[in-house]
């Protein structure tokens, strides 16, 4: 299977790195070098978990924003 043929991850990404990658994804902008670094250090599980958390944070912050405006 192709996944086993990918280069071994040099090391696991820290939560901060995962957060940075996912936040860039939310805007849709990422530098090539940073992205290539992500590609070897991030695992899909990390990205999915961080993506769900970030989506929840986005929803909550939007809710807080609209509550502040309407109150």
């Amino acid at each position: 299977m192709a996944t086993t043929l990918e280069p071994e991850s040099p090391r696991k990404a820290t939560p901060l790195q995962v957060a940075k990658a996912v936040l860039s994804a939310f805007i849709g902008i990422r530098r090539r070098a940073a992205h290539e670094h992500d590609a070897v250090t991030l695992s899909p599980v990390q990205v999915i978990v961080a993506g769900v958390i970030a989506a929840a944070i986005l929803v909550l912050s939007l809710v807080m924003l609209v509550r502040t405006i309407t109150s």
Binding site: E6, A25, G28, I29, R31, H35, L58
Partner: protein, 527 residues
């Protein structure tokens, strides 16, 4: 994957039935891709015929041709057939043809399921089309089949519900197949971040499909039990709530919009770099933006239903969330233009359609932003402004991207170059007639012309006349596509080389044109 290798390992490539049985029993991704594309082209013309019926009635004020009930059937079935019969299967057809060739896989992961997911579609389509001939005719509740209209109609509605079930099952199986193929069957060295963008967009689209098609299935099943088994999910008299249907439907419906456009983004992202002779600007941004659009698509559904009433907090939430989508979409449009910037550009037909896509889709995106503003939307809900908006994103967006893809890859698929002159005619006539048809709808919509109504006030007569003439022109222009495609398949065009386009990159261009029946039985190595 082992099974696929073992099956193809016999070496004799000609071992498949001939004639009609070849197509019925095929498990070959190229054959199934062709079936999907032929099916969707057929449905495109059936849906187009219904559109012609709509525009014929709207050519002049007053009732000319149809009864109002039949007019409603035309609008509803036009939407259902175009969304579920034409656009979605066309993209799956592209995925079948291209994904294995682009990632260096010998076939799709589940070849037999692939056959099954295609052959469900003609069954669903037959149910849909046959519903015109049952008592009461086809569903006339709009493509959104809102309750309580949809809980009251005749058997045509049941046929539409079953058709949606079947086509939904087909989409889910197709998506499982695409995801498994992409994640498990890439050639050595083809890491995720080396995949062509078309493959990326399909991977994300397939996840969207798996997430939302069961939601639609749930909604229409609740509708079915409300109609026949005494439940009251959507019946206010029985304690249910028709607004619930709208929420559930649009929780499916909004990601569905992105399901219909993301693979189009993928095709355009293959075409633009090829004819700019430059690599795609911001490849990783494109991947990230696609993922971002997919995530955001789940938190904006209620912008389709601002007028049904919701708290101001909810209105603001959905308005802001919807506007946020402009950011990643803007990134994509920026990247396509940056790819073209200082490129060595040529404008063959695929590039013309890609440029047309970028221009006209952006206009549809902007009207989407206008409609995202709650107070504006409340004025424009169910007017022709909305009809103009979604045809700008679905016709000039999805359909033009599909046309770009057809012209881009048909020389590879058939081994013969299409007729460039006719291709250019097809583009220009489509582009001009599309705008003649749909641009005036912005004006009629702003002036308050409601959609899904067969008659209108005299003040709208001129713009409707223009729209109708444009639509007949657009419909007729599509015959050029059929002629060009048939000509290519019959081998009339000049023979093409493996790498059809000078600026093309990717594994599919290393294969002969047309590619042999089985390709990449020995996986290529990607550096």
């Amino acid at each position: 994957m082992e099974a696929a290798h073992a099956h193809h390992g016999h070496g004799d490539h000609a071992h498949h039935p001939y004639g009609i049985m070849r197509w019925i029993t095929t498990t070959n991704h190229k054959d199934i891709g062709t079936l999907y594309l032929v099916f969707s082209l057929t449905m495109f013309f059936i849906g187009g015929l219904l559109a012609m019926g709509i525009r014929l009635e709207l050519l002049e004020p007053g009732m000319q041709f149809w009864r109002p009930e039949f007019f409603n059937q035309l609008t509803s079935m036009h939407g259902l057939i175009m969304v579920f019969g034409a656009i979605m299967p066309a993209f799956v057809g592209f995925a079948n043809w291209q994904v294995p060739m682009m990632i260096g896989a010998p076939d799709m992961a589940f070849a037999r399921m692939n056959n099954w997911s295609f052959w469900l579609l003609p069954v669903g389509a037959t149910l849909l089309v046959a519903s015109f001939f049952v008592p009461g005719g086809a569903t006339a509740a709009g493509w959104t089949i809102y309750a309580p209209l949809s809980t009251q109609m005749g058997p045509g509605m049941d046929l539409a519900i079953f058709a949606l079930h079947i086509m939904g099952a087909s989409s889910i199986m197709g998506s499982i197949n695409i995801i498994t193929t992409i994640l498990n069957m890439r050639a050595p060295g083809m890491t995720l971040m080396k995949m062509p963008l078309f493959v990326w967009t399909w991977l994300i689209t397939a996840y969207l499909l798996i997430a939302v098609m069961p939601v639609l299935a749930g909604a229409v099943t609740m509708l079915l039990t409300d109609r026949h088994f005494g439940t009251n999910f959507f019946n206010a008299a029985g304690g249910g709530d028709p607004v619930l249907f709208q929420h559930v439907f649009w929780f499916f419906g909004h990601p569905e919009v992105y399901i219909m456009i993301l693979p189009g983004f993928g095709i355009v992202s293959q075409v633009v770099p090829t004819f700019s002779r430059k690599p795609l600007f911001g490849y990783s941004s494109m991947v990230y933006a696609t993922a971002s659009i997919a995530i955001l698509s789940f938190i904006v559904w209620a912008h389709h239903m601002f007028t049904v009433g919701m708290p101001a907090v909810a209105q603001l939430f959905f308005m802001y969330a919807t506007m946020l989508i402009a950011v990643p979409t803007g990134v994509k449009v920026f990247n396509w233009i940056a790819t073209m910037w200082k490129g060595s550009l040529t404008f063959e037909t695929p590039m013309l359609f890609a440029c047309g896509f970028i221009f006209v889709f952006s206009m549809g995106g902007f009207t989407g932003l206008v409609l995202a503003i709650t107070p504006v939307d409340i004025q424009l809900q169910d007017t022709y402004y909305v009809v103009a908006h979604f045809h700008y994103v679905l016709v000039a967006g999805s359909l033009f991207a599909l046309f770009a893809g057809v012209y881009f890859w048909i020389p590879k698929w058939t081994g013969h170059m299409y007729d460039e002159l006719l291709g250019k005619w097809h583009f220009w006539l489509s582009m001009i007639f599309f705008n003649i048809t749909f641009f005036p709808m912005h004006f009629t919509g702003l002036a308050g012309l409601p959609r899904r109504v067969p008659d209108y006030n005299m003040q709208f007569a001129d713009f409707n006349f223009i729209s109708s003439i444009g639509s007949f022109g657009f419909g007729l222009s599509q015959l050029i596509l059929v002629y060009v495609v048939v000509k290519c398949i019959r081998g009339a065009g000049e023979k093409v080389s493996d790498k059809v386009w000078e600026g093309a990159h990717g594994l599919e261009w290393t294969l002969p044109s047309p590619p042999p029946y089985h390709t990449f039985e020995t996986p290529p190595v990607v550096k």
